[in-house]
Symmetry: C2
Subunit: 321 residues, 2 copies
């Protein structure tokens, strides 16, 4: 499908893309750029790249497809660096969680004859680094492409085919709308998760060890999102500031109203909300975006048996230890 693909950044998404390309025989050669020798060596050892480069400019030379897989805060400088080295006719894309800022930061650097189509796979885990990736991360998940008005239709079609071959379903969306939709489906949830974990850890009335011990009451569900990569998420909030502040304002407004219902013992208001929210999960499961298994299928026995689990992690997984 592509002769040479350059992955700039070899973390969770970069490494998963490498594995997915191997699985689907999508690329003739996969070149990966990472600053540290450790990361490049891990990527070569795990076999999801053919060649490692220290700089992005070196990696993009002769590539038909260039995918930026680093935190969105790095994109401006990266685009300036790779611009002179991009091959004519190449497609440049990214996997950033914000799209307006990506267009602002990358767009102006793209040379004539090179096609820029921003993208965002709605998939991930709380783990980071080249060891975190796996081939099926994108299976059945959506990838949003946000081509600008001047985007080449052929480049868009080729990128759509690429993501489809990686297992994803593709949606084309206006970048501004993307940033609004993701603010509520991804950015606000992460912010809330980070916040409650911070609140719980800083109480003087309840110790951190009590929080950890009794976290199965619900708290632990939030810690997955709150364990996500800090640099990536700092950059998301700095670059989707307006949409996040808008969603956060609505969340707080609703929360204050819920607080009032508790204070004035309005059981009916609580019951009505709690009944309504139940069906949202049902719809997400029906849409194939969530596991229907109770408690995410996690329980002491299951942790050691889930297929494709990495040995080291699974061995520590028995809750009864």
């Amino acid at each position: 499908m592509f002769g040479r693909v350059a992955l700039i950044g070899l973390g969770l998404i970069g490494s998963s893309l490498g594995h997915a390309m191997r699985r689907g025989s999508i690329a003739g050669e996969i070149v990966g750029a990472a600053r540290t020798a450790e990361t490049r060596e891990a990527a070569l050892r795990l076999g999801f790249i053919d060649r490692g480069c220290k700089t992005a400019a070196e990696a993009v030379a002769g590539a038909d497809l260039v995918i930026l897989c680093t935190p969105v805060g790095t994109y401006g400088a990266l685009a300036a660096e790779i611009a002179p080295a991009l091959a004519p006719g190449a497609i440049v894309t990214d996997v950033g969680s914000v799209k307006m800022s990506v267009i602002r930061d990358i767009g102006p650097h793209i040379p004539k004859g090179v096609h820029f189509v921003p993208g965002h796979p709605i998939a991930g885990t709380e783990q980071s680094g080249p060891e975190a990736g796996f081939a099926h991360l994108f299976d059945g998940r959506w990838t949003i492409l946000t081509p600008t008005a001047v985007a080449d239709p052929d480049a868009l079609a080729r990128l759509t085919a690429f993501w489809t071959a990686c297992g994803a379903k593709v949606e084309v969306m206006d970048p501004e709308r993307h940033d609004m939709v993701l603010a509520i489906t991804s950015h606000l949830p992460h912010l809330i998760a980070y916040n409650i974990v911070g609140t719980a850890a800083h109480l003087e009335t309840v110790t951190e060890s009590e929080v950890i011990k009794f976290s199965a009451g619900g708290f632990r569900d939030f810690t997955r999102l709150a364990a996500s990569d800090p640099t990536m998420w700092r950059d998301v909030f700095l670059n989707n500031r307006e949409a996040v502040l808008e969603m956060l304002g609505r969340f707080t407004e609703d929360l204050i109203s819920l607080q009032r219902a508790i204070r004035y013992r309005d059981g009916q208001a609580l019951y009505d909300l709690f009944s309504y929210t139940r069906q949202v999960r049902r719809e997400i499961i029906e849409a194939g975006q969530e596991t229907p298994l109770a408690d995410f299928g996690r329980h002491p026995g299951a942790d050691t048996h889930v297929p494709n689990a990495r040995g080291g992690a699974a061995r520590k997984g028995k809750a009864s230890e």
Copy 2:
């Protein structure tokens, strides 16, 4: 261990206790009370009770151990109903998520010669009803017992042995402290989850179908808690009002501070919090209270393979469908 055990309420916790007692051969006879014939029949069919009763008073007659497994709002009336029928020397306990209100509501009804020891297993799933239970729900999880000053030491020891036989680890705690600890580890997380799902569903700028489609960005993690039983949770918030309002106040204070960091582009403050919260999850995993598998171990392929998955649910689990 016990001759006859009466389960009052045959939902997720009642049914799981029934299955756990069967697994450990803990009870000579298990009697279950449920208002609807449908629930009693399901419990008999699933085999986790020996006999079904329409009223709680009928079920507790001759029981050595009585476990209230209904929403905490029902406890006062239930205690008044069963009091005259309780056998001398019987132990009465409960599984309610709040403990001060339970002592207030049940305590005064307990006859002389009957032992009341409140309890709370920190375990559950988002599913409800007699079909939702399974024997290993309590394995490796904590059950908190909150005996009052006048509690019989022998009754406490027997109840501790009971929960241990059900797979749980037992912690004895002051009821007031319990309500404070659970407010942050369980009640606030549920409230936040219900709230964000409500906010997302009522936006006019983003449609509900977009929220569902792109929920894999993080939102879906919250929907598990927000799918929990509405009656149970209404009762929790009405009965642990002060502690929840206190924790909610702190959460909001922290959130406003985070909002300010985003507004003023304070990347360092965001990065510091996001780095700190990461280690909390690590500690929860080390404490055996969470799966170490990335993304809770959920992915399109895994859903159909997790052991003990009920067939109906698992068949719908393929995200690629």
